[in-house]
Symmetry: C2
Subunit: 337 residues, 2 copies
Amino acid sequence: MPELRRDPTTGKWVIIATERALRPTDFKSEEEVLKGPENCPFCVGHESMTPPEITAIREDGSFPNGPGWDVRVVPNKFPALKVEGELNRHGKGIYDVMNGIGAHEVIIESGDHYKSLESLPLDQVEKVIWMFRERMLDLRKDVRLKYILVFKNKGRRAGASLEHPHCQLIATPVLPDVVKLELDMALRYYQYKERCIYCDIVQQELEEKERLIDENEKFISIVPFAAAVPFEIMILPKEHISDFGQIKANEIIKLAEILQNSLKMLEKAVPNVPYNFYIHTSPLDNLNISYYHFHIHIVPRLTQLAGFEWGSGFYINPMIPEQAAQFLRNAKEEKQA
Amino acid sequence: MPELRRDPTTGKWVIIATERALRPTDFKSEEEVLKGPENCPFCVGHESMTPPEITAIREDGSFPNGPGWDVRVVPNKFPALKVEGELNRHGKGIYDVMNGIGAHEVIIESGDHYKSLESLPLDQVEKVIWMFRERMLDLRKDVRLKYILVFKNKGRRAGASLEHPHCQLIATPVLPDVVKLELDMALRYYQYKERCIYCDIVQQELEEKERLIDENEKFISIVPFAAAVPFEIMILPKEHISDFGQIKANEIIKLAEILQNSLKMLEKAVPNVPYNFYIHTSPLDNLNISYYHFHIHIVPRLTQLAGFEWGSGFYINPMIPEQAAQFLRNAKEEKQA
């Protein structure tokens, strides 16, 4: 019998399709043929191929837009939103329009064309997370902005157009829809329970353990109860922290560790897996809130959205979340063995 | 300057990315190598390869599960939801679960393996639409069901797994999220304006004409003002009809005509385009409503959703809707010339 599960953080139902259930080993992802570093604008020594850098973590004595950097942030060459100008929100009959004000930046994870967050040294992953925090703290000074979304696309099927490992951020002049939904649902839960729903998820997952794939002093990593796609993963801080920008040094170390471990397990479970991840944090006009809790979603892109998903908003997940978690945990043990 | 446009039927913002704008001719779609009719369960003469048929439009004297049919409806062999059983909605800690009760049917468009809605004779398209209506009217007798979504997946990138042209329907025990959002937004508009927002869209699009791609006595076909993807199309009845199940014979003729024309234009604009379409109609517990209006969304699948779209719910459309409409209209004229 197929099962309908509801994600308590969004209210969305997911169909766990037992009739078409796939085993974890049914998922294959083809290796992409890489073009290599030759004309790559993100490789060391090619700094002049990008727009001038916004900031970088650099060796002492090195200069902006030259080599000697560990993590480098540049404007997206084809930005979805632009910093200059006024919002100019206006109507056009029944329609609404505004200028595309915002920011669109690329965070280059390292100078190495072939090493990504799952394969870089752990201290390099920490530096990337520090940079997420630094850019969030800097951009929030701009009062036109309502939200900053940090995300990563890996592999062509996940929308990556450049192969050198990088993350991105887009700052938007309106609160994104998906975040607004999570905030609304979390507030409703808080008004009824006087507890943060994400804190309650952490507690239930630590008790039940069947969807838990990794844990350290500060964070847990789980396959969500109502995972929308095979091998979906969510990372949550154990303590209540709503604003990613306030994450502390000792937390960044632990976040780097659990993020890298989770991505390693995923890569081990499905080699060459294309995926997206993104950080959900509190909105800029309401940073410290007791009902919302920052978290990271990792979304492997192994299945194809079809007409039913577009038209209904329901997802059909052909993999039982507890089985996905078991398979990811096994991948970890094999790795350690 | 990029532009943000808001879809008044959902409240969602779309980024019209002028900086990365693509020309209509930039979209190419590869021809899929077809396996052909040999082992196809939907071809005439292969009726025994499907589960027993639910209904069919048949020649006099032909028998169920044999040849002699024009349109045939069968249960999906790997249903996302199943008809038998009770909902048994219950909690599991903070989570919600229910059994996957519903229906999942396949509507085979014709016996011809190679002809789809864009290439079938017009009276065959009418028969398919009659069948949508018949299945909706039959399934709504089941009080466990809250909604019936009719949809089509064409091409592998749009999620089609069998190549013989077919549509599907899934009946769900909860109101789909995407429909609920449209209903909520339409109600809010109605409460303020005392007018149906879809009626207002029809009027504005007929006046402005720049996004109109086809029109007949009963329907219009447009590229939506806040189209989320290149070449997105929406078909709306000119008169207010909330319930697709109440569509009349003379309207079905005109709907077949505009649906086929729209799909032809799309195929002409981007040969071999993968797409989804789906019908949005009023919910089963509230069929005749003055604030909601049935319509068809056609969503070509030429771009890839990436981390930003998943994490924010914003779409980035690299094609200006008015340019897409112009290109589709040109495709129509070429066709007629």
